[in-house]
């Protein structure tokens, strides 16, 4: 294999075993950050030696919602906002599975917001990865529950005047046991966070701030996704353990990243088994898999 040969012999990209290569190239725009988050997720699976048979990915609708279709894992592409309830069902049916919801901010915090808060409240043992690009991308760039104040979207042509969600605060206050935020540029830390979230018992949440070049960057005249990556480089600050109340994101303002919550709490199934076991005694058979496997 010569280093200077024009076309090098076809060694496979190391990620190919984890992707449905018949669907690659993917539909994401040039300089979109979702693909980078997928690479980090695939690396986390590899680094943590997680058996691929035991992982399933659930997505909703949206640009990030396509992830389920590109990963060569058991996956399901649900209707808009319903990734979390589907994942909860999957988890309850087979608690030994590592169920991962990989979806966008519009899908998880907007359309599916109610599912998100109640699943966090119950501490259901799933992992939620939310790629936040600050608007509804696939449907045409409408204002979302995460759009920073004054940002321009197709339904906020004079700038957004609604207060956005602070997603780590939302997750933490609802009861998540693991909460982290990274940008698409923090690839190694994001990979580490995905690994930690996957291994965490309970509701774990990782927010990934990623560039949407076609809608968010273009409408706000911020250049390309590469310019946004440079912006993250210059304007993100790592503050582990920061108070989630301080994690609001203003338009083109500092982004605080880090791991904010990492605590232990009984999961939904733990609590259910404990309650029924206590009340029903012998008559109750501990639900399979709920014992700390």
């Amino acid at each position: 294999m010569r280093a200077d040969a024009p076309a090098k012999p076809a060694i496979e990209h190391p990620m190919e075993s984890l992707l449905r290569m018949d669907r690659i190239p993917h539909i994401w725009c040039p300089t979109c950050g979702i693909g980078t988050a997928v690479t980090a997720f695939a690396s986390a699976l590899e680094e943590n030696e997680i058996p691929l048979d035991s992982v399933s990915v659930v997505s909703g609708i949206g640009c990030t919602g396509r992830v389920a279709g590109y990963m060569k894992l058991d996956s399901y592409h649900t209707t808009h906002g319903r990734a979390v309830p589907f994942a909860v069902g999957l988890h309850l049916a087979k608690p030994s599975l590592k169920v991962v919801v990989f979806s966008g901010d519009g899908d998880l915090a907007g359309i599916g917001g109610n599912h998100f808060i109640h699943t966090a409240r119950r501490n259901v043992d799933i992992t939620v990865i939310c790629v936040n690009n600050f608007l509804y991308a696939m449907t045409g760039g409408q204002v979302a529950a995460t759009t920073p104040v004054s940002a321009n979207t197709s339904t906020s042509p004079y700038g957004n005047f609604e207060q956005p969600f602070n997603l780590p605060l939302l997750a933490q206050s609802c009861g998540a046991v693991y909460v982290a935020r990274w940008t698409a540029l923090h690839i190694r830390r994001m990979t580490k966070a995905f690994g930690e979230a996957l291994n965490k018992k309970g509701f774990s949440f990782v927010e990934v701030i990623a560039p949407c070049s076609t809608l968010y960057a273009r409408r706000n005249r911020l250049g390309t996704g590469l310019d946004l990556m440079k912006f993250y480089h210059d304007n993100s600050e790592i503050r582990h353990g920061a108070d989630p109340n301080d994690l609001n994101i203003g338009f083109q303002e500092k982004i605080i990243c880090g791991k904010f919550v990492d605590i232990e709490k009984p999961t939904f199934l733990d609590s259910m088994n404990e309650c029924y076991g206590k009340s029903l005694g012998e008559k109750y058979e501990i639900y399979e898999g709920a014992a700390h496997a």
């Binding site: 060694i11 190919e16 300089t31 690479t39």
Partner: protein
């Protein structure tokens, strides 16, 4: 490489070498790899791929230290690096050229 203070084990340390692979037709020319390669081993080319994007090209592969940053950042799974299994003794001075 310049050192502020020469490390005591500099003779024993080997700088890893990488072999970069670019799958040109999968690239969408985002430039992430070029911008963030810590060794400046990549640049955008003028060439067009099948979809009309400019893929990157390698400026000097001896610069690559197999950090895999390009591979991790690429949103298209279009570039990767494998560690070269022939570490040169000493330092990069010897391999430069």
């Amino acid at each position: 490489m310049k050192f502020w203070r020469t490390p005591l084990d500099v003779e024993r340390l080997k700088v890893p070498r990488g072999e970069v692979h670019i799958i040109k037709d999968r690239c969408k020319g985002c430039g992430f790899c070029v911008e963030y390669c810590p060794r400046g081993a990549l640049e955008m080319s003028d060439e067009f791929n099948a979809k009309g994007y400019h893929p990157p090209r390698i400026t000097d592969e001896t610069l690559c230290v197999s950090c895999n940053l390009c591979e991790m950042l690429c949103p298209e799974f279009a570039i990767f690096c494998v560690l070269k299994e022939e570490p040169e003794p000493g330092e990069e001075k010897k391999v430069e050229g």
